[in-house]
């Protein structure tokens, strides 16, 4: 009886702790969503008034009309989808080659590429900026890459550097290397070349690693702020994160509109998180890395 009581008491304590932290984690979401539904005058009500007393969903329409949000969402979607699709292809085929094919210098090339994992993206932004600015015959540049803005303010600058990644290749290679060699030998006897081997045998087996990579890359691309901040200056090239930051500067006191925009920018990833939760968790656990 005493033991039972003690157990119940620790259980109570355990749930109290868990619920306390869950509330702490979720309060900012509640503040954002409820604020986004308040008419402006309610923002100034005194006391703790978390809930809107007179909900105003029209805030969302107003927020979306206050800036070129359609364009920002289009930009972010295009950049994210392009980079995810192409990088999955490039990374997986490279990872497969490093794991299953035999060619001279393979391991050296692989380890040489791993240097990329150690490089913080912000540390090489200056040469990347100069490079894109100096693309010949683009953006008003002459043949020597002078005089104009090159590929700055274009999708090229937002997409090109993210079409492959050392970490993704590393992950794919570690995945493919665990398959038994008999798998390759059987296929080779049937006359499969390297590309056929990849497309027919390995690609259909790649579900888990590609799902993990796709999620990491989608979150990274959609949420990236620093890169578009440097590479774009015009309104029509802004991504949603950049749009949100500029919006925050212009509508500093219209917290209801700002929260409405914030909720809409965040929503796609939250929805994806709830639907693909299992892969999210598996992804970050097996990779133990983000981006």
């Amino acid at each position: 009886m005493v033991a039972r009581l003690a157990r119940d008491r620790t259980d109570l304590l355990v749930y109290a702790i868990l619920i306390f932290f869950a509330v702490l984690m979720l309060v900012p979401f509640a503040v954002a969503v409820f604020t986004s539904l308040k008419p402006k005058e309610e923002l100034l009500f005194s006391g703790i008034n978390l809930l809107p007393s007179n909900p105003r969903p029209y805030n969302y329409v107003e927020a979306m009309q206050a800036a070129d949000w359609g364009r920002y969402f289009l930009n972010s979607t295009f950049v994210t989808v392009t980079c995810v699709v192409i990088s999955l292809l490039f990374n997986s085929v490279a990872g497969f080659s490093f794991a299953r094919l035999h060619f001279r210098g393979r391991d050296f090339l692989f380890f040489f590429m791993l240097i990329g994992i150690m490089i913080p993206p912000q540390a090489i932004i200056i040469p990347q900026f100069l490079m894109f600015r100096a693309v010949p015959l683009a953006g008003g540049n002459d043949i020597a890459g002078q005089g104009g803005i090159g590929w700055l303010n274009t999708y090229w600058a937002l997409i090109m550097p993210w079409l492959a990644g050392s970490f993704g290749i590393f992950l794919c290679r570690q995945y493919y290397i665990n398959f038994p060699t008999e798998l390759d030998e059987a296929a080779r006897l049937d006359g499969c070349g390297p590309l056929r081997l990849f497309l027919d045998i390995y690609l259909p087996l790649s579900g888990p690693v590609l799902a993990a990579l796709a999620i990491l890359k989608t979150v990274f691309m959609w949420n990236d702020f620093f890169y578009p901040l440097i590479m774009t200056t015009t309104d029509n090239m802004r991504t949603v994160q950049l749009g949100l930051q500029v919006f925050a500067g212009e509508y500093m006191t219209d917290w209801n509109l700002l929260m409405a925009a914030q909720v809409l920018v965040t929503l796609p990833l939250i929805v994806m998180f709830f639907f693909l939760q299992r892969y999210f968790v598996e992804g970050i656990v097996t990779t133990g890395l983000k981006g």
Binding site: L24, Q277, K290
Partner: protein, 309 residues
């Protein structure tokens, strides 16, 4: 490049070349798209930033080689010293609570808990939100006049700080946001590590009369030590690269109280156009991060992953 040249030179004898390249010479073509992207957009800029750091290059006008002058002036630049201090404080104080709380929460969640997935989701959710979106939300929560936090503090009769507008509270406020974002990530990784510990160990300890708290100190903590090491390294690397949050919430202010290493790079490069100097700052950041990552590869789990292969 070298391969193409060799192929042209030895074109007359494809048999020998093929043998030299190995049985799957088409492997070069298959790694080419990823490799070219890597060389052009990562590797070349790494070298370029090193070269730029030795110059007085600005976006316009003349420039010259100035050796290591940029590096020496970094240490006399009080903005940079503030940035270094702020970054270290931010990284350390974001890491410690999010690591220890992450482990405790994960340990609690390994008990027979109802609603496990609800709790796991709630803790992880902040990690899905972009830093900009999180920053905008917390900007409102920390608002001195009408923000949620000061409304609560006011209701219970506590003083209402100016938070982001006060040099003494700005950095702590940013750290709160950092912990809020990182906690769930650390918790999920710890949870996976804990699920790998056989239950028998705990049962044996209980039979020997160990209390739950003792088991946590003497079994759990030592056994998840590799995970702790990994999270420490990752958290340190992330903390050292903090920028988005700073840019949106404080712009490094008030009075430089929240400027960070990457914020200094940004300001010097894209605001003052001292690209040479900002490159030196980038090189320093790169060296710090590379050093820490190497430690992870050498002593951490990923190092083991490589050995297995």
């Amino acid at each position: 490049m070298a391969i193409a040249a060799k192929r042209a030179r030895r074109g007359a004898e494809p048999g020998r070349l093929r043998r030299w390249l190995g049985p799957d010479a088409s492997g070069y073509l298959l790694i080419a798209p990823a490799y070219v992207t890597y060389v052009i957009f990562i590797l070349a800029p790494v070298f370029a930033v090193g070269v730029l750091s030795l110059t007085s290059y600005r976006l316009v006008g003349t420039w010259e080689w100035i050796g290591l002058d940029n590096f020496t002036s970094m240490w006399n630049d009080h903005n940079y010293i503030s940035a270094l201090k702020n970054t270290a404080v931010y990284a350390f104080f974001t890491l410690m609570p999010s690591l220890s709380l992450g482990l405790v929460l994960a340990a609690v969640l390994t008990r027979q808990i109802r609603g496990l997935s609800f709790f796991r989701q709630s803790y992880y959710l902040p990690n899905v939100v972009s830093t900009v979106a999180a920053a905008v939300t917390w900007l409102w929560i920390f608002d001195p006049g009408n923000g949620f936090l000061n409304r609560i503090l006011g209701a219970v009769g506590l003083p209402r700080p100016d938070w982001l507008y006060d040099p003494n509270t700005a950095l702590p406020a940013l750290i709160v946001v950092g912990v809020w974002k990182m906690l769930g990530y650390n918790m999920v990784i710890y949870l996976a590590a804990l699920q790998g510990i056989p239950r028998e160990i705990y049962e044996a300890a209980r039979v020997d009369g160990a209390k739950e708290r003792e088991a946590f100190w003497h079994i759990t903590i030592p056994l998840v030590q590799p995970t702790t090491f990994f999270l420490l390294i990752m958290g340190f690397i992330n903390g050292f690269q903090v920028f988005d949050q700073i840019y949106v919430m404080t712009s490094g202010g008030p009075a430089n109280a929240t400027t960070t290493l990457v914020h200094q790079i940004y300001l010097n490069a894209f605001f003052f156009h001292h690209l040479g100097y900002a490159s030196a700052e980038s090189v320093f950041l790169m060296i710090v991060v590379a050093f820490v990552t190497l430690a992870n590869f050498r002593y951490g789990q990923q190092g083991k992953l490589m050995e297995v292969s």
